[in-house]
Assembly symmetry: C2
């Protein structure tokens, strides 16, 4: 059985036991997602078979992804003494996957993204349904409207699942974390919108601070800190342990997102699967960009601002922008910040009073998060 702490091997790793345990959790998660979707398909079929595309659109998002949040929830549960065979972390992990799907559906409307994980985004799926059927009125408007509703439904599903995960446990602390997580993500996304809109008029120092704050709420807490704490709280972790989880997972989440920002500008298209410098064409006001604007002389700043958000940037222009960002020292500074945050996370992990398997699993997840290339 996997419930007994595994013994670390010579280099401190227990890869076999951990990957076996994670594989089992992942397959239970997939089963749980599928079972919930099947249940909801029946509910919608009772209303009208014509409403079923709402479910299939959600299923296109819950069937993929790295399950990172669900895994953090699992290890948060496990490290707090929860049984590896319990259903609560599976149900809570399922809730997190549906929450993430809901966020992606609405995010893709907001960002006007046509694709998601190599498939059409949900609003594009509904637009295509309209076009293919030759219906009346505007296909795009139909697509966006249907995707708003699909996202709402998915958000409701996420909460329905979360409540189920709390039943029979001390759910109050977990509920508070779940509520806070939702509010943080939505407020963080709003601040991100605002940043794009307010644009280059603010001082670069202010912009860098703001970019860090957005990154913290929109991504770091939501992607790392809250899922880990949620698992812990479901297993009855006390405030001291939850706070130690936060000390580890918040800087880790920040490093993770800063790495994402770097990849969005400097990532290899062959590895990321996205066009080179995609974030530059989208005009994302990340910490990296804010820092470049802050560190450059006036002439450099004006040149960056002039190119940023220009959807027609060719590879040469992307190369030039990259060069400017390097020249300002912003890339080096961001890499340094990633290193500082990562070190803080790993130091906190060392101090964490948990079993060896959980510690090693969290360490593997952390390494993957900050050293990834895609």
């Amino acid at each position: 059985m996997l419930s007994a702490p595994a013994t670390p091997d010579q280099d401190g790793s227990v890869p076999g036991a951990i990957s076996g345990e994670q594989d089992r959790f992942r397959s239970e998660l997939t089963r749980s997602i599928d079972a919930f979707l099947a249940e909801q398909r029946d509910v919608l079929a009772d209303i009208s078979a014509e409403s079923l595309p709402l479910i299939s659109s959600i299923a296109t998002l819950t069937s993929g992804g790295k399950r990172m949040r669900a895994l953090l929830c699992y290890w948060g549960w496990r490290a707090a003494g929860g049984s590896p065979t319990a259903s609560a972390p599976v149900t809570a992990g399922t809730a997190l996957e549906f929450f993430q799907a809901a966020a992606l559906i609405h995010d893709d409307i907001i960002d006007r993204s046509d694709t998601r994980r190599g498939r059409p985004s949900v609003h594009r799926q509904f637009t295509a349904r309209h076009t293919d059927a030759g219906w009346h009125l505007d296909p795009e408007r139909f697509g966006v409207a249907a995707a708003i509703l699909a996202g709402d439904l998915c958000l409701a599903f996420s909460e329905e699942l979360f409540t189920a995960s709390c039943s029979g446990t001390t759910g109050t602390a977990a509920r508070t974390i779940f509520n806070r997580m939702r509010t943080e993500v939505m407020a963080g996304q709003y601040l991100d919108l605002l940043e794009e809109a307010v644009g280059p008029d603010q001082t670069p120092e202010v912009a860098a601070d703001r970019a860090l704050n957005i990154l913290r709420f929109k991504s770091a807490k939501y992607s790392m800190e809250r899922p880990l704490m949620l698992g812990g709280a479901l297993a009855g972790a006390d405030d001291r342990l939850l706070s130690a989880y936060s000390d580890f997972a918040l800087p880790l989440g920040e490093a993770f997102q800063l790495r994402d920002d770097v990849l969005g500008v400097f990532g290899d298209p062959e590895v990321t699967g996205k066009p080179a410098g995609d974030d530059l064409r989208e005009g994302k006001r990340t910490f990296l960009v804010a820092r470049a604007l802050g560190s450059g002389r006036d002439g450099v700043r004006a040149r960056i601002n002039a190119m940023l958000g220009d959807t027609s940037l060719d590879d040469a222009a992307v190369g030039m922008l990259r060069g400017l960002i390097i020249d300002t020292g912003a890339l080096a500074h961001t890499e340094q910040l990633i290193a500082v945050k990562s070190e803080a996370a790993f130091a906190a992990l060392d101090r964490l009073e948990v079993d060896a398997v959980s510690r090693r699993a969290l360490s593997l997840l952390a390494e993957a998060a900050v050293t990834r290339t895609a």
Copy 2:
């Protein structure tokens, strides 16, 4: 105290006691809404003061309205033996008001409505904020994106409140009703979108059936049946009583929405506050319209289809369309259906085994719902 059943007066009414009780509930509801908003304002202020417009936009919707759903929840609770001074129906009513606000925010994006209750709709509020500040990029796009997030946040708030209302009670049955209600509304709204898109190609008989189904899920259950059942379930009502609630409130909700459809075409602008024939310009495919299309000869049908959804219809054209709808017999048929549904509702109310005050209160709410002129 109001907890003792009031004695009906000569004609069976207890208007003083009922309106006193409702007034007290309404003011507790307002207090609860305000307290929750103040609490969330603090949560958002901790993230960034710049995210506070999300809260103020929600507040523009929760500060008004008839509180019909919350009142039905209250009487559902009260008629099932719940104490009039308990907090559960206040909190559940608050959850319903936030759910309604969330639905309206997203609905107004979908329908591209510029106003709501005489004020700018939430996406228009954010668009105006962008324009007034002279920010970058497209103000309308910013407005829609921010309103998607405000609606999501409001949906999360509604659930947070609903969970609070269940604490300390037998919340499982109520939770199931709440979950079902959300799914029904979202699926119903999707079917409504689909109806507009599929448009006049389907046979009119099919269209009338579909219009009734949409009306049931999008409106009747959500506006009447589910809130009443929710209150009952929170007070521990058994399945028999909940089913009796449904027998009363579902046909009532149908009559209520059919009345709404009639007012959308024939309502007096002086009373409704909306331009005459607004639903015709919006091209809403209501039961009334579907029935007109189904009852008219081919020539009439083509004329209705040609004018429906034309935003530039002048008063003369609206008058002509109204005439056509009357001539097909669709208005008379819809009025007859309202009468049939109302009778079914009142007959079920007579059979309902509840105290005299609750019965009379429900009767007053029902009368207001089906005989209203605005």
